[in-house]
Each structure stands twice: as structure tokens, then as C-alpha cells.
Amino acid sequence: MTTRTRRLALTVNGEAVSREVPVRQNLVDFLRHDLGFTGSHVGCEQGACGACTVVLDDETVRGCLVLAVQADGCDVRTIEGSGDLLGDLRQSFHELNALQCGFCTPGMMLSAEELLQANPTPSRQEIRDYLSGNFCRCTGYQAIVDAVAAVAAKRQGGAAS
């Protein structure tokens, strides 16, 4: 069987990119293997774990449930392009031990940032619900919820919990 390909042009982390890709390739594999943005991880490849979360036109998506060709003309942001946005969240994850192996962390932080943009004062239950599509097999989630809640409190000008 021949490999079917298609040229796509898109913006990734602020830079214009044009590549010929196999049409069956998913977005996260394209970002990792063709562009070297290996901060987006590949866990389950069935949309369950959230490790491949990236931001497509300002909305989080599953990188394994989007074909690269579907992102043609779109604006994609990975954890590598999110440093400025996530500084306090990264610090909080570090201080409160919200990661161990780090596999889920990029997806976890992109989802958490999206929640905080939409809802700057989430309850712990709202944080848990919003992050329910991002699996962590190390922490038991408690520390992750702590870290996100602490950032929310700090951004509101209150004391960190």
C-alpha cells in the first residue's frame, strides 16, 4: 500500500511551518517526530489519558485524536511554547510536588491553565472535574489540585494555601 501524503502549513509555537505529512499521522506524532516538540507525550493513543494535550486555536485538544492534516492552517501551541504563560503554574507544581515522573505534567499544566483562564477562582471540585481527562499514575492528584488552587489564590492576590 502506498503511503498517502499531503502538504500542510500551520503555525507551531509562533513559527510558521510547512511539511509534507502522511495523512494517517496524528498531530502529536507530527509535533514530536517531525518538529521535535517532545514535550507532548503519547500515552494511550485512544483519547483517554490526556498526556498528548496540546492547544489548537486557543483550545486544548487530544493530540492523538486529531490528524495532523486536520490542523492545516491552524495555530498550535505545545508546552514548549507556553513557558511565559505557565511560569507560576510550573513553580507551583515544583514547590508542591505535583509531579513525580512528569509524563502527565505538560498536558496537566495546559489543561489547568485553560481552566484558570476561564474560571480564575475554581473550587477544588471544579479543578478535579476539569483535570479529570488528564491521568496521573504517580501523585494521586491531591498535590496537583493543591498546586492549581495555589496558583489561583496567588493570581487573585491572596495567600497560597
Binding site: 485512544q46 490526556g50 485538544v61 485524536l65
Partner: protein, 280 residues
């Protein structure tokens, strides 16, 4: 696993998409948001020759209000439906249900047409469409036909859609202004597939419609319970009888994880919660 090899076309118009489907028939598969299809491709449970990507057909992304109905384009995403003021005002059942569909990142891509065409027996919007007595617009190069929700769902992943048809719109009658819509489900975790769920719509001058999900091969109406509740005013004694009755009219399939008796119990619990809300 990775998706199998296939051809990919992204038509610029519905007409072009319909021509492709007419030409390729069973060899072609439509991709909309892809939130079920990509997983099936990765599992190698789907192996189409051709993917027809209708995801950019703006003509299928509208939500419009008519005098007596609301029409939702097949490509309207779950997140757009949840954020629509028109939907919140006329069909508050839908935003409640969407809160249970998977996770935000999936709701950013998944579409109502894709979910209905997939026909998962545990799908939230399918049960809502049944409770709201929806009609579906199926369009092919041969023309357009309207199919009622009762005829659309035909079994597990089975619908009335022919291989050359696109589900272009969902038409929902506007419920009476005093109507109440309540959606409830039980899942192991937020966003998981429901073990059982219930979409309840009622108004003062008509009886309730109760659609159940996750307890049969397709969404089903609890007809005897609906008839029972139509007959007399609701009170705690009537509610208890209704809860007993609904247990007798669901017959969930055998399942190693969740036995039929457990799903039946969940349906009863959900109905009880709905009726208690209405009484208070």
C-alpha cells in the same frame, strides 16, 4: 497503535462532500470532529479506503431558532452547544448533558452530528434527542429526508444513515415555556462512559418524556413510566410507584462489569432523584 493507511479528502462544500460519498459508498468514512473515529482508527477497528473530512463545512455549524423549533447543524461542537445562549434559554437539558460528555479537550472537537451518527448506546446527546423528540436531516446527492429519532437509532453503532448520507441538522421542537428538563447520569468518574443515564423533559399540559441511556442497545423511552406519571399529580407516593415501575421496564444487557440488576437499580435511583427535585 497507529491509524491504518487511507486516502484523505477535505471537500470545500457539502455538495462536493456528497459527490465523494456517492462515488465511494461503503469505502468512504466521514470524519467530523474525529473524537470517536480517531480512536477506532488507532485500534484498527475502522479501516476506510477514504476519509472525507467535512470538519470545515461552515454551513453545518449554525444554531438557528425557528418559531416552534431549534435547528442545530451537524457540525456544532459540544463546547459551542454548551455556550449557546439560544440553547441555554430554550433547551437547558442539553448544556446539563454536555457537562457529562468526556472532557473539555474532547468537547472542543466532538460534534453533535458525529456523536449521533456514532450511536453509542451510552451517548448523552442521543438520549436528549429522544427525550426532546428530535428529527434528523439526512442529506445525500440523491436528496434530503427527515427521519424521526425513533427510527434513526437502530442498534449498537447502527443508525438509519446510508453510506452516502450526511447528518446535516438536528431539529428539536421548542418545549413549552413552563417545561422542565433534567439530565442525570452515573459514571465511575467525571467524563467516563455512563453506566446509566436519564433525560427527563416535562411540561404542565403534557406528560413527561423519559429517555434512558446505557441500558439497552440504543436510547430508549420509559413508556409505561411516562404514561403512569402523566395520569396524576406528583407526590412522594406516586414517585415511589414510578420508581418501582421503571425498574420493571428496563432490561439491561448482560455485562461482566455492571450486571443488569445494577444498571436497573441506577435507573431507579436517577428517576427518584429527578422526581424528588420536581416535588421540592
Amino acid at each position: 497503535m497507529k491509524a491504518p493507511n487511507f486516502e484523505y479528502r477535505r471537500p470545500e462544500s457539502l455538495t462536493e462532500a456528497l459527490e465523494l460519498l456517492a462515488q465511494h459508498g461503503d469505502d468512504a468514512t466521514i470524519i467530523a470532529g474525529g473524537q470517536s473515529l480517531l480512536a477506532l482508527l488507532n485500534f484498527r477497528m475502522a479501516a476506510p479506503e477514504l476519509l472525507v473530512d467535512i470538519g470545515r463545512l461552515e454551513e453545518l455549524k449554525q444554531i438557528t431558532g425557528g418559531a416552534d423549533h431549534v435547528e442545530i447543524g451537524g457540525l456544532v461542537r459540544h463546547c459551542d452547544l454548551a455556550a449557546s445562549p439560544l440553547i441555554a434559554q430554550t433547551l437547558p437539558l442539553l448544556p446539563q448533558a454536555i457537562g457529562h460528555i468526556a472532557h473539555p479537550a474532547v468537547r472542543h472537537r466532538g460534534t453533535i452530528g458525529g456523536s449521533l451518527a456514532m450511536a453509542d448506546p451510552a451517548a448523552e446527546l442521543a438520549a436528549c434527542c429522544l427525550a426532546l423528540d428530535a428529527t434528523f436531516s439526512l442529506v445525500s446527492a440523491r436528496g434530503q429526508r427527515w427521519v424521526g429519532v425513533g427510527d434513526f437509532f437502530q442498534g449498537v453503532y447502527e443508525t438509519a444513515l446510508e453510506s452516502d448520507e450526511v447528518l446535516t441538522a438536528i431539529r428539536l421542537p421548542k418545549p413549552a415555556p413552563d417545561s422542565v428538563g433534567i439530565f442525570k447520569e452515573v459514571a465511575r468518574r467525571q467524563g467516563d462512559f455512563a453506566m446509566a443515564g436519564l433525560a427527563f423533559v416535562t411540561a404542565a399540559d403534557s406528560g413527561p418524556r423519559i429517555a434512558l441511556l446505557g441500558v439497552a442497545d440504543r436510547p430508549m423511552l420509559a413508556r409505561r413510566t411516562m404514561a403512569f406519571l402523566k395520569d396524576s399529580p406528583l407526590n412522594e407516593a406516586r414517585a415511589k410507584e414510578a420508581v418501582d415501575l421503571i425498574g420493571t421496564e428496563v432490561d439491561p444487557p448482560e455485562d461482566p462489569t455492571y450486571p443488569p440488576a445494577y444498571r436497573r437499580h441506577l435507573v431507579q435511583v436517577l428517576l427518584q432523584r429527578v422526581l424528588m427535585e420536581l416535588i421540592q
